[in-house]
């Protein structure tokens, strides 16, 4: 009953979405506000409708309806209720419903706002969002139906939505259960974060397309969607970081990022999104790069769709691993169609997207922003190349060739270094015109201090050249950014006669985007410290220890104490937990408990014993043990220097984006660039 009901509701929402597209287009062509309002109302209906379908799915998941194929695949009786709920996005069919639900929520939120003078955008925003929804709902209804049930067709068990002839409903005793690796809290919230980021980027794209179609190609669409882009970027970034943290805590290979195609698929829209966030500022302030912004938002949208597809279908590893999914070609067709259509719109409106001024100086703020964009795009090209290279080489040479993490590290390293250098220079450059002299005057103190720090590090910490270059750049960016905070606050302190800290907080409050951006830059540098530490200084060792024996790594000594195994029948898992004593030099500093969980289903899970400090992480994995005597065990041990800075940086990053995106006033009330240039009222640069 519930399954048919849920499916029925999905079918209804599919039809409503199709209707809203037609109503919107008809309304525009007939210039009928009533039809556009009808499209708007049907759009508002989407969220409650898909919510009901989602509720039906959750009901089935929570109540062990194992006649439903999706429920059978992702849950089992032993799973706690909250995991049964989150199993919603634990499989492909459910996660497509989840995607649609989020998009419906965001689209409703957008359509419900006061449109006033932007009303001409409305029908086209509806068309773009609805078309995307139609695509995802179509996939769910026709190909990946989470409500399909098992039927016993003459001895064969087959999943179908409706009863085939002569079939009886088949209910499995218990489900297969969510992969234990996915039962980690990080994994419970990582996909929703990523999806929130993915889906929110649809909104800026929809407004961009609306701007192109209506011909209102000024920066209005950018102002309207500025916060959407920021939130999208925040969630996407959090999704990436949480995924990394999950890998570090659960996967037991001592790292957080492996340049896996699926990771890259989520990273690529982040790159274009980051470039977009930067370059829209140039359009707002200087009226430049309009074509470029359109192309970036289109790329981001299509990379989001592409990423959703890659993260779910596994098509890339399919060369050697997974079965092909029937929805692959459909995704590719949709990405190609939307991309070609959007680019065609850009070409059609090309003349009206002309720049309002010219870029005069190579060192002006806008030129450096352009360079920043080019570098982000270069990283994107490197990633894209790495992903498609195996397919290309097979196509052209017949030989299957692939590139691994060393390719990405080697090719992106210099690009990231250049980006960091820009982060140190660009905040000091002026709009319109800068010269080597003006930049040098603004920078020399920070550059000198960074050099001194690097020299000190050379004598006290490391002689690794690449690491030293990295530390120099990090120090430079941090110092320049702090200097910017200080300079602004001091200036305000003088003119407003305020205490330094009052001046600083007011300054930041008045220029949220600018100082939020600087906080984000600082957080990126903290993260860079962690990444550099792992890339340059990670060490590992492994060995088998008898009870009481020890192993040395860096200045740590790890002594094997004991190991014990027990079953947890309720969770259907066997735990094996070792105790090792940790010494730093000769000083006892504590115990660690690396664990190996073996689920009865056969899925193992290695939980490292971690001792985390700002200087380094000691990361001990229990690899093997002798089950009867428990007198010896094999360990793999990593020392991961500075990795904690990565997580601290992520937290600060969160603060920075919230600070920049926090609503202070309705963006519609902000004066546009043209009026502001006349009135000179804004304190923002």
């Amino acid at each position: 009953m519930v399954a048919e009901f849920g499916y029925g509701i999905l079918a209804v929402s599919f039809l409503v979405a199709i209707y809203s597209v037609f109503a919107a287009v008809y309304g525009v062509t007939k210039q009928s506000a009533a039809w556009v309002q009808s499209a708007r109302r049907s759009m508002l209906l989407m969220f409650p409708l898909i919510s009901i379908a989602a509720a039906a799915l959750i009901y089935l998941l929570v109540n062990d309806h194992y006649e439903v194929a999706f429920v059978y695949e992702v849950t089992s009786r032993s799973m706690p209720t909250y995991l049964k709920v989150t199993a919603w996005w634990g499989g492909q069919a459910g996660s497509l419903v989840f995607w649609s639900w989020l998009l419906a929520a965001f689209t409703s939120a957008v359509t419900i706002r006061k449109w006033d003078r932007d009303i001409e955008f409305l029908p086209w925003v509806i068309v773009v969002c609805s078309t995307t929804l139609i695509f995802f709902l179509g996939l769910v209804i026709f190909y990946e139906n989470p409500f399909a049930r098992f039927w016993n067709v003459i001895g064969n068990i087959e999943p179908h939505m409706f009863a085939p002839a002569n079939a009886t409903l088949f209910t499995a005793q218990d489900g297969r259960g969510l992969n234990p690796l996915l039962r980690h809290p990080g994994m419970v919230i990582h996909p929703p974060m990523l999806y929130l980021g993915f889906v929110s980027f649809v909104i800026p794209y929809a407004f961009a397309m609306a701007a192109l179609i209506t011909g209102r190609t000024d920066d209005r669409w950018i102002r309207l969607t500025r916060r959407w882009s920021l939130w999208a970027w925040l969630f996407l970034s959090l999704g990436l970081v949480l995924g990394g943290r999950w890998a570090y805590d659960v996967l037991g290979w001592g790292g957080y990022w492996g340049w896996d195609p699926v990771e890259i698929a989520a990273f690529m829209p982040w790159l274009t999104g980051t470039a977009f966030l930067h370059s829209v500022m140039i359009q707002e302030k200087r009226g430049l790069l309009k074509h470029w912004n359109m192309i970036l938002v289109i790329l981001t949208y299509d990379l989001v769709i592409f990423g959703t597809f890659l993260t779910r279908s596994g098509v890339l590893s399919s060369v050697h691993a997974f079965a092909n999914s029937p929805i692959g070609p459909l995704f590719m067709a949709f990405v190609t169609l939307t991309f070609v259509a959007s680019i065609a719109l850009v070409i059609w409106r090309w003349p009206s997207l002309h720049s309002e001024t010219e870029m005069k100086s190579m060192l002006s703020r806008e030129a450096l922003f352009l360079l920043n964009n080019l570098l982000f795009m270069s990283v994107l090209v490197v990633c894209f190349w790495g992903v498609i290279f195996p397919l290309m080489s097979e196509l052209f040479t017949g030989q299957k060739v692939t590139v691994g993490p060393p390719f990405y590290e080697r090719a992106t390293g210099p690009l990231f270094a250049a980006l960091m250098f820009l982060m140190g220079v660009a905040p000091l450059s002026a709009w319109g015109n800068s010269t080597i002299q003006t930049l040098g005057r603004a920078m020399w103190k920070s550059a000198l201090a960074a050099t001194i720090i690097t020299v000190v590090l050379f004598f006290t910490y490391t002689q690794n050249i690449i690491a030293l270059i990295g530390f120099f750049l990090i120090a430079l960016v941090l110092l320049v950014t702090f200097q910017e905070f200080g300079r602004g606050a001091l200036a305000r302190q003088k003119t407003q006669n305020e205490n330094f800290f009052v001046a600083l907080s007011r300054l930041m409050g008045r220029n949220r985007r600018r100082y939020g951006g600087y906080i984000i830059h600082i957080s990126m540098m903290l993260m860079a410290i962690g990444i550099l530490g792992m890339e340059a200084f990670q060490i590992e060792t492994q060995g088998t220890l008898a009870q009481g024996e020890s192993m040395k790594i860096a200045e740590y000594k790890v002594v094997f104490d004991n190991v014990a195994s027990w079953d947890n029948n309720a969770q259907e898992v066997n735990y094996t937990r070792a105790t090792v004593k940790i010494y730093k030099g000769d000083q006892y500093i504590g115990e660690l408990h690396p664990r190996k969980d073996m689920y009865f289903s056969g899925q193992p899970m290695s939980i490292p014993g971690q001792r985390s400090t700002m200087r380094d992480d000691l990361y001990v994995l229990l690899v093997d043990w002798q089950p009867i005597s428990s007198t010896a065990a094999t360990f793999k041990i990593f020392v991961n220097p500075l990795v904690n800075w990565l997580w601290i940086g992520s937290l600060l990053f969160f603060v920075g984006v919230i600070f920049a995106a926090w609503p202070d006033r309705d963006p519609a009330e902000e004066p546009s660039r043209a009026t502001r240039r006349v009135s000179h009222t804004s304190a923002a640069d």
């Binding site: 194992y66 068990i157 499995a172 079965a323 270069s378 290279f389 030989q399 692939t402 691994g404 093997d624």
Partner: protein, 160 residues
């Protein structure tokens, strides 16, 4: 004048990125190969970075815990998805490959902890190089367990 400068700058970046991509590709490319392909290449495959895949033959697994040295043999499995589908899916193909003693096999040596998933009929994907002696020295060992590929349909036996 300014325009030329910008164009030159752009070209310079383009060239740098192209260089980075080409040189990094050259430096780190790995050849996907099946057991048969490695055997067919013979001496030509020695020293190349390879990504070898095959089915683990359970009887050949040996592990020396004191030196952490793991040796086993992998049997040929086709790399063609359509062929795999035609032969009844990956699980069936792996099962067949591990049981078939007439198939080409490659001996693999890996130093490190013994992975839990290493068992008969698992699919092994290894990166490393093959020596002149025909033994594959794996730096990295990735295993996929056949159970993961079971049809997402419950066994009839589970019925009441």
């Amino acid at each position: 004048m300014q325009k030329t400068k910008f164009i030159l700058g752009g070209l310079l970046i383009l060239a740098a990125v192209a260089y980075l991509i080409v040189s990094s590709t050259q430096a780190s490319k790995e050849y996907f190969m099946t057991v048969n392909e490695v055997k067919a290449e013979g001496a030509a495959a020695v020293g190349k970075s390879l990504r070898l895949s095959g089915a683990v033959v359970g009887d050949t697994i040996e592990y020396d815990a004191s030196t952490l040295t793991l040796t086993f043999e992998v049997a040929h499995v086709t790399g063609d998805n359509d062929e795999i589908a035609a032969q009844g899916g990956l699980a069936a193909v792996l099962k067949q490959a591990a049981a078939d003693t007439t198939r080409e096999r490659v001996k693999v040596v890996y130093v490190g902890p013994k992975p839990d998933l290493l068992r008969n009929e698992a699919q092994a994907i290894m990166t490393g190089k093959i020596g002149a002696d025909g033994v594959f020295q794996a730096d990295e060992l990735l295993l996929k367990c056949p159970t993961k590929y079971e049809q997402a349909v419950p066994e009839q036996a589970a019925a009441q």
